[in-house]
Point group: C2
Chain length 296, copies 2
């Protein structure tokens, strides 16, 4: 079974490095330059060249594999969705943060669609070198159907250090991840603290809880205690980590605020739910992106 | 006519330096050390020793002058109010930011009370040296009476470079200053931008307007356009300035967030008015104070 991975950022490179040990993998890059670098050098994982049976990089947009794993950021998704619309029916797995990619997926109903949540840490060193900075797992769930059999090759693959597990409820799975992201990412980016800073500082903790409550209500979930405990536990476990949004702000890169907070603002608007702290945070992060963190 | 100035921070030092040219001035300091330094060295204004007819510094708490000008920060006010309760009736002028000092003033009804707004820039270099960084004026207004005659010596004094003017409506005067402070100070401190940054960055401008609207409604003022234009104009005129709250955050000092935002939260609560952006900003600045601006 062949796997195509679309997007060669940190997650795409990590998945290509890990999966190409067991499957023939094509990694689709945005640029010819990156494809050439990957084909010339192979993928480096934690400084060592990956020994893969069959690995190829390509900047083409015609996908030929049985499974496509889409790893691009939400704001690069539009073009990829266009390509996938013209592609024959197959298994397509979306690994984006947030939930705003869900609306795109309605245009792709001819595919067998899955969504996933990546709980690995990955750091892109350069165009063909990635570091696996946090060992975790990947959760996958069927989107609007109940058939997990297309994922069997991934679920049963004996990639002990790179496991996949199946979740029954895609909405619960993405909501948990979204709540974690929305509670931790923007606040840590705004206050320039590591994740644990939100638990150690009484006032930031208050904002952390306020953000959780607004998002929880807007997502129309039940069982506040279950989700709050989940978010809190992740924040504790990752207390020494710098969140991806803070990394983006510190490196003057575009953040995923639209996919995470922007999505929630739109959802809350549709539900007629007031989310003033999320609205403040949205403008705050957009403002920081524009400011590039410097005194004007 | 003798003037006592209570508090020898930047505003207290500036007023002592300027007023001691025309009046006998006693400057009340918190510490004996500062009083001794001032008595030994005199006051330095912009690097030059002030030539004053009669100047004396004291760390005593028995005030003997005809006019007392209170320049301490709001959070140092409680002790001074205690002293003033035991003082015989006289003219007392309060120059604090915000409005939370207004509630203290009800305990001092035996005095002839005035409130003021300082539109000078002042920077304390050391315990006896102050720089007059921005030439402006001081507005004074009677609190719960209409008698400006006790202020005549100040209003007619020919301190051309240090003018006082009288305002009829103390609530409008303090509201204007409070709106300026609440719109500019916390946002510039949070985003670490100069005042003009709030006008140049579309997203920060949105937050600037949100904060204004919440505060304007909570203050129960009329004529939004009049106050909005005032705040906007001050922000334009001071666009190159670093706000005092940002200075405090950058120097890891306690800010005036309680007097400015905290006051407004309490007022809004009494009025049953929702002020979620102000609530967010309050916790944000308290959080930054605790964080001391560093990654945890």
């Amino acid at each position: 079974m062949k796997i195509g991975i679309i997007g060669a950022g940190s997650v795409g490179l990590l998945f290509a490095a890990k999966l190409s040990a067991s499957f023939p993998v094509t990694l689709y890059t945005k640029t010819k330059t990156q494809a050439k670098l990957l084909n010339d050098n192979g993928i480096l994982l934690d400084g060592t060249k990956v020994k893969s049976a069959s690995f190829h990089a390509s900047s083409e947009t015609i996908y030929e594999e049985d499974i496509q794993i889409v790893t691009v950021k939400q704001y690069q998704l539009e073009k990829i969705v266009g390509n996938l619309k013209r592609t024959t029916s197959r298994t397509v797995i979306f690994l984006q943060n947030g939930m705003s990619h869900i609306s795109c997926m309605n245009e792709l109903a001819h595919h067998r669609l899955y969504v996933g949540v990546v709980e690995h840490g990955a750091l892109k060193i350069n165009d063909y070198h990635v570091c696996h900075t946090g060992k975790g797992l990947t959760r996958l769930s069927a989107y609007h159907h109940n058939d997990d059999k297309n994922l069997k090759p991934l679920l049963v693959s004996k990639l002990a250090v790179f496991p996949f597990i199946y979740e029954e409820d895609w909405y619960e799975m993405l909501s948990k991840k979204l709540l974690v992201n929305i509670c931790i990412n923007p606040l840590t980016a705004l206050f320039k603290v590591k994740n644990g800073g939100l638990l150690q500082n009484d006032y930031l903790y208050k904002l952390f809880e306020t953000v959780f409550d607004e998002a929880f209500l807007a997502l129309k979930l039940n069982n506040r205690e279950f989700y709050w405990r989940h978010v809190h536990t992740i924040c504790e476990k990752t207390s020494a980590n710098t969140s991806s949004m803070l990394e983006d702000i510190l490196h003057h890169r575009r953040t995923e605020v639209d996919a995470i907070v922007g999505y929630m603002l739109e959802k809350a608007k549709r539900e007629g739910m007031p989310v003033p702290a999320l609205r403040f945070l949205y403008f705050a992060i957009k403002g920081l992106e524009e400011e590039k963190g410097e005194l004007t």
